[in-house]
Amino acid sequence: MNFFLATLLTPLIGGVLLAMIRNPKLAAKLNVLTSCVTFTFSLLLAFTVLGKDSIHAMNDWFYLDAYNVFLVSLTAFVGMTTTIFSKPYMQHELEIGRVNERRIRLYHSMYQLFQFGMLLGFTTNNIGVLWVSLELATLATVLLVSLYRTPAAIAAAWKYFILCGMGIALALFGTILVFFTSSMVLGHGNEALTWSLLHANASDLDPAVMGIAFCFLMVGYGTKVGLVPMHAWLPDAHGEGPTPVSAVLSGLLLNLALYALVRFKMLVDGSTNTDMAGHIMMGFGMISLLVAAMSLHKQTDIKRMFSFSSIEHMALMTFAFGLGTPLAAFAALLHMTVHSLVKSGIFFTVGHAAQMMGTQKMSDIRGLIYHYPGIGWGLLIGTAAIAGFPPFGVFMSEFLLFTATIESYPWLAAPLLLGLLIGMAGLFRFVQPMVYGEPPEHAKDVRVNMIPVYVHFGLALLLGLAIPAFLSDWYHQAASLIVGGGA
């Protein structure tokens, strides 16, 4: 049985089916079911890779190695829990009239299409298809962000569309440049876009072309990662879209963009034999970290506030991948995993909290822990986890990253720590009064489903205490793969 096809086709078929189902309740159930099936297939897919270095499938169109196999499962997993969360959440939005049934249909269908784009991007071996799938996921999320049709939502979606459209165009240009030089080595066909072949022949690629290509790819995919100064779309898109969309944007889409960037970094390192790409990534990462940590303090909207936290963490990963030591790469991979889990968990909690209080404005959200202890605790634990408190996985990865930084660039450890501390202070400054304090009169009871949140935080806790052997093997393999080509 071909698990590649099964993993990819399930969301695609689900998306088409969901486009036809008018009953919102049925559609929500089918949405959950589709995602569960996708997740199952992705697990089976991961098992086939377990113990092997990498597998190629279907004429080299698909490729799994240690680097992307866990990301596929992670994507399918977060995709699944998000559908479970979104079931009561979207039901509530429908009841209060923020969306109508047609929009719900669009939402479900686009959600699965987004999943398809994500999974295709992670599994494909062709850098052209990688671009196409990222664009597909972007287009699907544009429609999702504009779902509420409020002026702010439409403006946010437009900004997202234009900025990311521009970014992704630059990334395509970078891809064309790579093809430009690789077609001279690998012939004029799909082979010249096949990542595994490119990686094997990286030293034959023209270093000058690859260097220029990386600059375009960095700015292009960096826009999607949300790196400063191309981050303007990210807080708006997170703030104005439905919360499940914010969760998958932060937890998944940003990962895919960073994943793509790192894939290219491996090629560029192999070709140029310098740290050029790594240094660029470190620069972008450090600036984004500091800017995001400081911007976080100025926010008034809870989802925007956490979206700046996402920028901060993506910046950390970019920085870590840029460092280019095995330890740093290990930390980045771990951070990618725990950030996805924790951040989407936080967005689930935030979504429910905002529904209860009827607003996303932080100064109007008060006393969550008294009104609904589960939500209050959830937000508190989630914030502690994302801020990097032990024993959660984020602490683990940030600690590793810090160690790696001290090893190679000690003088960068100070700004790194400063950024982390500023970000942490910002989070607690806002979250503490929201959790405690006097609950306002207008607070409503809404149906909540906290299971996904607990599962996410539980996994993050587990990863902080002990990383399972198979996962740490993958991280090690992937880390050496990422670092391997470098100088």
Binding site: L136, L139, P151, A155, F161, G165, L172, S183, I212, Q360
Partner: protein, 225 residues
């Protein structure tokens, strides 16, 4: 057709593409922008056909036909419909400042020439000259997106970027593999459809096609609540 001849023609087409990028940037009226955009699409199709003929890559003929239908006819027609429906065709675009824009445009062209020229001599295709021009076109179209204030011209800028990218692909590399090419064309089509959808929503929500009006709703949102 000898390869010398083919190169001559492709160089000429590349020059025209660059000219159109400048023209798009310099236009004030919506409809003339649209005309130049359609011309760019046609030019691309011709370029693809010439490259297909000279290089013997038959896949490129499919690309050429796809380009002609999608970028030369369908997209301009759709945009024309939108412009007519929204009654924006007579409005004169408030430009940043045409003199400054032109100076930046020339600087951008020089920059891309400076960056790309050293690498394109490594290529062995008849079309290797066009890489620098394609880079310039990409950056110029982006400049157009930045300096324009109306949603529709931004979109034309976006599509012009895609056009320039396609030109880069056929000009510099004899075209990406067909699968990727089709994927990209499909994405562009979907993007254009979404854009079309958005225009009407923006019009209904904001009563204006100005980007500033839209961004104002994001800035003031915190105050409203």
């Amino acid at each position: 057709m000898s390869s010398m001849m083919a190169q001559q023609i492709i160089d000429g087409l590349a020059a025209l593409t660059l000219l159109i990028s400048f023209a798009l940037l310099a236009q004030h009226r919506m409809l003339s922008v649209l005309h130049w955009f359609a011309a760019q699409g046609l030019l691309l199709a011709i370029t693809a056909a010439v490259v297909a003929y000279s290089s013997g890559e038959h896949e490129l003929y499919i690309s050429a036909i796809m380009t002609l239908l999608l970028k030369g006819l369908l997209l301009p027609w759709m945009l024309w419909r939108v412009i007519r429906e929204l009654h924006v065709h007579r409005e004169v675009e408030p430009l940043l400042n045409s003199g400054v824009t032109m100076v930046i445009a020339v600087a951008v062209t020089l920059f891309s020439f400076h960056v790309i020229q050293p690498i394109q001599v490594t290529a062995d295709l008849v079309t290797h000259n066009s890489m620098a021009i394609a880079t310039a076109c990409v950056l110029l179209s982006m400049l157009m997106m930045i300096t324009r204030k109306k949603a529709i011209t931004q979109v034309i800028g976006f599509l012009a970027v895609e056009n320039s990218l396609f030109f880069a692909a056929i000009g510099a590399t004899n075209g990406m593999p067909l699968v990727v090419e089709i994927g990209i064309a499909f994405d562009v089509l979907i993007a254009a459809l979404i854009f079309g959808l958005f225009f009407f929503q923006i019009r209904d929500t904001f009563d204006s096609m100005e980007i500033d009006t839209m961004n104002a709703s994001l800035v003031h949102k915190d105050d409203d609540e």
